[in-house]
Symmetry: C2
Subunit: 310 residues, 2 copies
């Protein structure tokens, strides 16, 4: 019997699970009906469709995270300001009124610094499910379109930053002069690729300055006959290396361990790049982390009896 439905609802996609009281995955759905689609079709209708497809019982509570809680989402779940205890963040889930089910959205985080304002929605839930030790200082990297790096101290978010590495890659590949170098459909990049590693090391050495090397990808095609596959590896290595160099400077990491919350091919690229930076990696599967975080949020908000069998 499912204890809760858990939904990670972002701008362009949705993932939903039915979870048992112990966190077991009883059903799963993935859809492209992110915010943009849902704003037209109606959030309730989209959610009901996925719940029905998974055979969710009528009264099953639903815990959600992600951009569904933004101003452009279903309802705005107000930001929690950092520094903030991770448990307290989860506890503040915003309830959607006027629905038969108990449906709540985990709040996002806001960093209201004059010189480094920042926001996140969804990653706070992954963070809560990443299994960080309750004590000590931990640096967490969550790569993606807008990579987030989070500094956690004794179970509280001390601060965070955003590096739009995935967006830079796709925007430069599609709309800059590098589109001539990478071609229409950039080739997938592998973590063992020599070009990826070379560019990554160069960007690490240059402290996050990558703009000075972008045009050399174009020039390498003109002068050295570099292939589109090499150009994609170059751009990926350059941007990921620059992100890591920049974040390690901000968080003062000469060495040490980074908790990497990621999945699939992107996770392997970051694992390789963090290794080139001389950092240790504690890998956490992003899907498992978001489910664990949503489960914890459901418990923190009393949506599942705290004593329910695990």
């Amino acid at each position: 019997m499912p204890a809760v439905a858990a939904v990670d609802w972002g701008t362009t996609r949705l993932r939903a699970w039915l979870l048992g009281a112990g966190g077991a995955v009883l059903a799963e759905r993935r859809g492209d009906d992110g915010l943009i689609t849902a704003r037209e079709a109606g959030f309730a209708a989209v959610l009901d469709g996925h719940l029905a497809a998974m055979g969710a019982p009528a009264g099953l509570p639903v815990i959600m995270c992600g951009m569904v809680g933004s101003r452009q989402g279903w309802i705005e779940a107000p930001y929690v300001d950092v520094p903030a205890d991770i448990g307290a963040i989860l506890q503040g889930a915003a309830r959607i009124e006027g629905t038969a089910r108990d449906i709540r959205i985990v709040p996002g985080l806001a960093q209201r610094l004059a010189d480094a304002p920042d926001v996140m929605r969804g990653e706070e839930t992954q963070l809560a499910g990443a299994g960080l030790p309750a004590k000590g200082r931990h640096i967490v990297c969550m790569p993606g379109t807008h990579s987030k790096w989070v500094e956690v101290e004794d179970g509280a978010v001390a601060g965070f930053g955003t590096w739009p590495t995935g967006e830079l890659f796709s925007v430069l590949a599609a709309h800059s002069i590098l589109r001539h170098s990478l071609g229409e459909r950039p080739a997938p990049v592998l973590p063992g690729d020599a070009d990826f590693r070379r560019r990554c090391e160069a960007a690490l050495a240059e402290g996050g300055d990558f703009a000075s090397r972008l045009f050399s990808i174009r020039a390498a095609g003109l002068l050295h006959g570099q292939t589109p596959e090499q150009a994609a590896a170059d751009l990926s290595g350059l941007l990921i290396g620059a992100e890591i160099a920049s974040a390690r400077r901000r968080y003062g990491m000469a060495a040490g361990t980074v908790t990497l919350v990621a999945s699939g091919a992107l996770g392997r690229l970051y694992e390789a790049a963090l290794g080139l930076a001389g950092l240790q990696v504690r890998p956490v599967d992003a899907d498992e982390a978001v489910r664990a975080g949503l489960m914890a949020a459901a418990r923190h908000n009393g949506m599942i009896a705290q004593g329910a069998p695990a």
Copy 2:
């Protein structure tokens, strides 16, 4: 009487002048018929149209520079490899065969370094016309879509680099999440703007790492109600500051003078940013520089009698 027609022919635009033997501007044309248009209409037809509109005599020689000499241009004027003497670069203009007039194109420059391959076409001619002293080391900044920085030693190009600052601005403003922050038509940025200066100083202090600050422009809108005008000033200051920080590191400029070859509003922004970086500026008008460079190329190639009255 004009001694030569001078043409700066780039990817998206063309500028043409009739020049007297002493360099006086006798006629001027500006058109949007850059390479993309000219490849359809025919290079000869486009050029003839502009020459006729300026009343150029039938036998007037034409000296050109820019992307018209690239593989996608009229003919490919082979690159000159750096290091190279500026006079020698000009001397190697490529002649277009089968035309009634004497029409030549100044070659571009290639830097065939394994870790910093680079190319330029057009800026070498501006450089030749920038009035640099014959002796000593000079750093030249030529801002634009693809800003070029050139290291000149005793009248020779020792090396150069490209920072695609203008392209980054327009691509991020149009295609990244920052489009929500900057709006459909980014506001013009002024060199005295407080946001421009603040972001520029931050980027200078961070050594060219700007990716870590991009998303904060978006967040400043969400959290602090920052306006689109401020967002445009932020992005401009951040990117220009990062370019200068990066270039000064590459060329080892703790202090000293930069020769800034630029025009109009962009030139004033770079002048302000170089000032914030603690660098002295020797401003050179880009239009005057390219005309002077083309004039020098015409003389070096014997298209104007060396003894013609100035």
